[in-house]
Amino acid sequence: MALPILSLMIFVPLIAAPLAYILGRYSERAVKIFVLLVSIVVFGIAIYSYASILFSGAGAEMSFEEGPWQWIPTFQGIDYHLGLDGLSGPLVLISAFLTILVVLGSWDLIKIRQPLYYALILFFEGSVIGVFTSLNLILFYVFWEIVLIPMFFFIGIWGGPRRKYAAMKFLLFTYTGSLIMLLGFLALYIFASPTFDMQALALVNIPFWLQTLASIATFVGFGVKLPVVPFHTWLPDAHVQAPAPISVFLAGVLLKMGGYGFIRVNLSLFPDASQTYSWIFMSIGLITMFYGAIVALKQTDMKRMIALTSINHMGFVLLGAYTFNLYGVSGAIFQMFNHAAAIGLLFMLTGYIHEQMGTREIPLLKGLMKRMPTTAVLLMLGSLAGMGLPMFANFLSEYMVIVGAISYNWGFAVAVLVPVITAAYFLWMIQRTIMTPLKNGTSVNDISSISALHLSIYLVPLILLLIFPWIVLNLTNVFAENLLQLVG
């Protein structure tokens, strides 16, 4: 029997998590090293699996498939079934990649209750990879909910001053959304076909009314996570209160679960309803983009501004996914990948700036270029990535989504305005923080060169993918082509 690669990626971190906690009670340094090693091992497995599906061109079908093995034999349809394809491959890779960076980023920033913190990081990683690789709706739901628990504690224990409020709000919003999604899954099970297997359900001819109802239910579940307007209100609070490394997880990994769900469940299982009502979903995506961009314009808290940028960028995913053309769908997946790296860098930078300067208020951060030159340069680069300038791969993915949307309908050309607004607020922020002359400011420490090196790692995939976009697009295009062919 072949090695169960996907189960390894899920259960190595999940089993290592309690070990890390026990280890951490003896030495806090040991737990950091242990967790870093585990996350590197998982990343290694992720690269291996990614490379093997990339070079075999197997983006369309499931590779490394495990199962289906019956979970409750007499409750038909609940199976343990995993697989990796052109949609989940990039997301698993970026999750494993970000975990390493989160561990590195937490090294000096997190000072209290470290054993619990690092154990929860591994717990989070394992369950997120479980979400991206599950091929059974119940298994998917199980992992989907497990993710909430570490995130609740991350925000609640290590967060900012209003962390309790933000943690509860996050938990209640997402839990309500996912329960409604579960109702949709149950309706599918009972009215369409007695199975929760995604591949089996894709072959079933689900009646249109059921597709419509189920897409509404899943829209609530995935929409809260993505998030789309009007379910987004938990996100700015959660982001602002969460510690910087956890914001990386939130924006880089947790939000992707929503985008993944839309493509994996809504597009593949409810193609008729999704195509008929695609204009509604695309309009919601467009509203989300504009909302995120316009509200970000007037923010003074740098972290809140970046959180709203996340909303803005995730709107692209919804817009692209529902275009039902190659550019849009492939671009949406690519956008998720790029957004994770770019926004991670920006969040980490706000964390460092907050620690050194004691504030994140943009009007108060003057003369950053003089006071923290390395940080300022990185902030500039991160902002350029956030704007979608052709220096970084974000440009490509945003371009693909917009092209996809325009080829769906000319009206969606207004989406072009969003990057313009995004560029406006990023440039304005840079002008107010980096470019302003320094008046009687006290000297502060710039980030250490090790931190600078660690932050530069975020930029590696963004530059690499601009030059060699085939690394991701070869997979996502094959996946999207196959999906579009199946849904007709």
Partner: protein, 482 residues
């Protein structure tokens, strides 16, 4: 092997013997001896009950008297209540240590457990009435066990008056049914009611309503729930666990037997009644739980809400097999997590001396094992996967959709989402808030072992729920087989 008879001899015999300990031993030995004897008896009972389906599956023997039916449904419920009692007995090792009349406490506990187990097997409404009293009367005394505590007295009095009323209601229902059908055996009632003349229909309906009111009092259904928060608060907390996880479950098995086996003729009537009762029970339970200030009252209302979820299953029990499977599954999962939660509350009450929710601030640091297990119990109560509470709710909600009560499934789901509000609130207090005092508190071994084994059951049956599900499914599929 005739399980009800064996249990009667084993548990009843020891329960009768234990008061003698008061005479034989002196001082500490009284409590020690009786508690260990009780734990031994309960463990032996669990082994005996489990042994039977493992060796001779599906052997449906009717006891010679015709009062009991030795089937899987009975075994399922008796295992559940025996586990609950065992947990309660082990936790009482520390909780009741040094209290006066310890042997009596254990004796009453065993009597009540015997009553619950017999209820699980009864197929004769007279036997049901007798077992019901055997289960109830010891719990009245146990509730008022702290005779110098006015709260305990008040709780016992309230509980007793309402309990006596409910017994009376049930007996009235029984007499009407006997008058209609000329029999007290559930299967014979089924035959007789299927030939009911339309003129007798209102009488049958009246007896059905009397049954719902009578059983509903123990099942914690709104509007018969008034006694619950007071009784749970006033009783020794371990006894609250027994009431909420044990007697309530026994009432459910009786309801299943009476309504599903004997009265399917009236299905249209009891179905719609249960559907509305389920809706108001879970909604009121959850809304009221949100405003509580003490842990015992909060858990009491949460227990009411959970009864509402189980009613969903009974509502659709005749449309789909999943309905009753869901009830049984949820009875088991809820019994374990609710006992665990009350016992965790008992540790805190015993060691810190208060039940107010503020006591729980910073508990994650002060009592790590208790806090961790309580977190697992609360998440399981809220239905977060992969804990077992998720699976039982999943089955219940699928059953509701399958049985044509989609609105009930939606209501249940919204209620679950709502309930996380107060469950997570306690978790937030334990791990995120800082308490006024942050010193470590010793956690007694007896409590920790119960809490950790309940946690282990919840996690293991959550990761691999198949055996429990299969047990419940077999129990349901052989329910009506004569």
């Amino acid at each position: 092997m005739d399980t009800p008879m064996i249990l009667m001899v084993l548990l009843g015999g020891i329960a009768l013997f234990i008061p003698l300990v008061e005479i034989i031993f002196k001082g500490d030995m009284r409590g020690k001896f009786s508690s260990h004897l009780t734990i031994g008896a309960l463990s032996l009972a669990i082994l005996l009950v489990i042994y039977q389906p493992l060796t001779s599956p599906l052997e449906l023997t009717e006891s010679s008297s015709g009062l009991f039916r030795n089937d899987l449904m009975g075994l399922f419920f008796s295992v559940t209540v025996l586990i609950v009692s065992l947990f309660v007995a082990v936790a009482s090792l520390d909780y009741m240590k040094g209290e006066p009349n310890e042997p009596i406490y254990y004796s009453l506990l065993l009597f009540s457990t015997l009553g619950m187990s017999l209820l699980a097997f009864s197929v004769d409404i007279l036997m049901i009435a007798v077992a019901w009293e055997l289960m109830s009367i010891p719990t009245y005394i146990l509730t008022g066990f702290r005779k110098h505590d006015p709260k305990s007295n008040e709780a016992a009095l309230k509980f007793f008056i309402l309990g006596a009323l409910s017994s009376g209601t049930i007996l009235y229902g029984i007499s009407l049914i006997y008058g209609l059908t000329g029999s007290t055996n559930l299967f014979q009632i089924l035959e007789a009611t299927s030939a009911l003349t339309p003129g007798m229909y209102p009488v049958a309906l009246l007896s059905m309503l009397l049954f719902i009111a009578g059983f509903g009092m123990k099942m914690a259904i709104v509007p018969f729930h008034m006694w619950i928060p007071d009784a749970y608060e006033g009783a020794p907390t371990t006894i609250s666990a027994l009431l909420s996880a044990g007697t309530k479950k026994a009432a459910f098995v009786v309801a299943i037997r009476v309504f599903v086996i004997a009265l399917p003729v009236l299905v249209l009537d009891w179905q719609i009644t249960f559907a509305f009762l389920a809706l108001i029970t879970m909604t009121l339970g959850n809304v009221a739980a949100l405003t509580q200030k003490t842990i015992t009252r909060l858990l009491a209302y949460s227990s009411i809400a959970q009864a509402g979820y189980m009613l969903i299953g009974i509502t659709v029990s005749l449309q789909t097999e999943l309905g009753l499977i869901g009830v049984l599954f949820h009875v088991f999962t809820h019994a374990v997590m609710q006992t665990g939660a009350f016992i965790a509350a008992a540790v805190v009450t015993k060691k810190i001396g208060q039940t107010h929710l503020n006591t729980y601030n910073g508990l994650g640091v002060r009592m790590p094992i208790t806090a961790l297990s309580l977190t697992v119990f609360l998440l399981a109560l809220a239905g977060i996967p992969p804990l077992n509470g998720f699976w039982s709710k999943l089955v219940l909600f699928s059953a509701a959709i399958d049985g044509g009560f989609t609105w009930l499934a939606i209501a249940g789901v919204l209620n679950s989402a709502f309930s996380l509000g107060y469950y997570a609130w306690i978790i937030k207090r334990m791990y995120i808030d800082e308490g006024e005092v942050m010193s470590r508190v010793a956690e007694p071994l007896a409590f920790s072992s119960v809490l950790l084994s309940a946690t282990a059951i919840i996690i293991l049956t959550g990761i691999y729920p198949a055996p429990i599900y299969e047990f419940a499914r077999l129990a349901v599929s052989t329910l009506g087989v004569i």
